[in-house]
């Protein structure tokens, strides 16, 4: 098990108070907090070797280049990518998904062909495909939801058929917690000759992820959800897929030779990184990977199964409260979306905040899914390495208190 008491010491923000009480940070699916080592890596870069990368021959530039490329190697190893040249820096998951849409799908999806995604996607893995389908005259198909919050795969072979060029799925749902069978989907995509893209924003931070074992062509994830800084994300792509992709942004850094008339593209991965990259935050993401490796991703996952199971049991005892997603903590990430008809998510959000508790409220950027579930909004608690069962107790007490407050008017 993780030593959460020791881990908490590494996160300066966790000692702050909110509304006069200790912060209980349970909004990790939105963004995680940062350990001191990540904050120090950023400060260290700016104080000691801030400079541009891949051009200067001076010492600072070489140090910055080495540090950024070392971070790329760390991220590659973290998800078991075959080479650091398969790791493209982006701003975030959304940009990585859009890069696949613009750079790959616009080139390779033709009129009458299919793109398949799922009913539980974040808007960022739905809206880009709506646009590609519209512009290319392709058809967007949706893998539906089953009763228990899992995907209904009974028609998977007819939905993912030989006309399908791209299959994409969220690995762990940010709204339900569901862990999707990405390996099986990868196999089906391969069978019909389609590419397979995984939205790993909620999986890579929380469990061991091996892109080669999954067999995906692309995976997108963000630094800020895995203890790293905001503003840095990653597109992993298999080398063959990258070579068939057109750069979305063109300009400096991504070119090899330029004349007034023409230009040739640089090698991978730089071809997809036009302009000065986000050097500091890439280095910070490398430091976050170091921190997670220090904990061990198997133990991170084990901790989350434990705390999620504990929370599911506690929430299960609250009358008139619905918890969405699979009942088995082994089948879900550390995400607890809850809902009651009597207390709106926004009101939960405000009163929980008075108890120092940070949860997300709203539609979680999954409006179509909310409609399927028949709710306008949910409140969502989401866990990470520093969360404790005591914090779950604080949350559960506050939820019960809020329900009494709004139901009976007891003050």
């Amino acid at each position: 098990m993780l030593d959460t008491a020791r881990i908490r010491q590494d996160f300066p923000i966790l000692s702050r108070k909110v509304n006069g009480v200790p912060l209980v940070y349970l909004d990790n699916a939105a963004t995680s907090q940062k350990p001191r080592s990540v904050i120090r890596a950023l400060v260290d870069y700016y104080e000691r070797y801030n400079s541009n990368v891949h051009r200067g021959v001076h010492t600072l530039s070489m140090e910055a280049t080495d540090a950024m490329e070392e971070a790329r190697q760390k991220v590659a190893d973290f998800v078991n990518a075959e080479s650091p040249s398969c790791i493209i820096w982006t701003r975030n998951t959304t940009e990585a998904l859009n890069l696949v849409a613009q750079g790959w799908a616009m080139e390779h999806v033709a009129a009458g062909e299919r793109i398949v995604t799922t009913a539980m996607e974040h808007h960022s893995n739905l809206v880009p495909w709506q646009r590609v389908a519209r512009e290319r005259g392709a058809e967007l198909r949706i893998l539906p939801l089953a009763e228990d919050g899992a995907l209904d795969l009974s028609d998977v072979n007819s939905i993912i058929d030989t006309r399908t060029r791209l299959v994409t799925a969220v690995h762990v749902s940010n709204s339900l917690g569901t862990i999707n069978p990405v390996k099986a989907l990868a196999a089906r995509a391969k069978e019909v000759g389609a590419a397979f893209l995984v939205d790993g924003a909620q999986s890579v931070p929380h469990m061991p992820v091996d892109v080669q074992d999954i067999g995906c062509d692309f995976m997108a994830f963000s630094g800020h959800k895995m203890l790293g800084p905001t503003g840095i994300g990653v597109l992993y792509a298999r080398r063959e897929a990258l070579e068939r992709m057109e750069p979305f942004l063109v300009g400096g850094e991504m070119v090899l030779q330029v004349s007034y008339e023409d230009a040739t593209w640089n090698d991978l991965p730089m071809r997809f990184e036009a302009g000065t990259p986000n050097v500091a935050d890439a280095i910070g993401m490398g430091a976050a990977v170091d921190y997670l490796n220090g904990l061990g991703m198997d133990r991170v996952r084990e901790h989350e199964i434990q705390i999620t199971g504990y929370a599911l049991d506690a929430f299960g005892e609250i009358e008139d409260l619905d918890v969405f997603g699979p009942a088995d903590p082994e089948k879900r990430g550390g995400v607890i979306p809850f809902h009651t008809t009597e207390v709106h998510a926004h009101d939960f959000g405000t009163v929980l905040d008075r108890r120092g508790i940070a949860v997300r409220t709203g539609h979680h950027c999954t409006m179509p899914l909310m409609e399927t579930l028949g709710v306008a909004a949910t409140a969502r608690a989401s866990f990470y390495v520093y969360n404790t069962e005591e914090e779950v107790d604080v949350l559960v007490d506050a939820v019960k208190e809020a329900m009494r407050y709004f139901l009976d008017g007891s003050r």
């Binding site: 405000t350 009163v351 008075r354 407050y405």
Partner: protein, 151 residues
């Protein structure tokens, strides 16, 4: 029990539990939908006019306690008023909730609506309180299409 009693006053909780004029008006002269994309809240407002006077007004939709109470209290406040009077109440209400600088808030015309002033201390909740009001304003000035808090 909570230090949020300034926000959720008894009258507010009462309106949110038992919203007034919470129904559809089938033959309404104006129907407007208000949408808050941040939280997915939706309100549909129905208005009927007798000449210049708002003869009936009602709403439907899903929302938090603040948005429901605000819509409920709004319908009570503007029913029987002229368009100009309703617009004036809208302006005073908005100025009060957003603590608009230099605005002249007519407390008298606000009446019970003053109870919602507590919302002004919760910036993330202001849009909950104003959603139905923007829908009404749109219906009064004959703007078409869905009203969004993000517009």
């Amino acid at each position: 029990m909570y230090d949020v009693d300034d926000l959720y006053q008894d009258v507010v909780l009462d309106h949110s539990r038992r919203p007034r004029n919470f129904k559809r008006i089938e033959d309404a002269d104006r129907t407007r939908e208000g949408f808050n994309p941040l939280c997915g809240d939706r309100v549909t407002l129905f208005m009927t006019f007798d000449g210049d006077v708002i003869s009936d007004v009602s709403f439907e939709g899903s929302g938090c306690a603040i948005s429901k109470a605000s819509a409920s209290m709004m319908t009570e406040s503007v029913k029987g008023k002229s368009r100009a009077e309703a617009e004036s109440i809208f302006n005073s209400f908005r100025a009060m909730i957003t603590r608009e600088e230099g605005a002249d808030v007519d407390r008298e015309e606000l009446g019970d609506l003053e109870i919602l002033e507590g919302v002004s201390a919760y910036p993330t909740r202001i849009k909950c309180a104003t959603l139905s009001w923007h829908a009404m304003h749109s219906a009064l000035v004959e703007e078409e299409k869905t009203v969004s808090t993000e517009r």
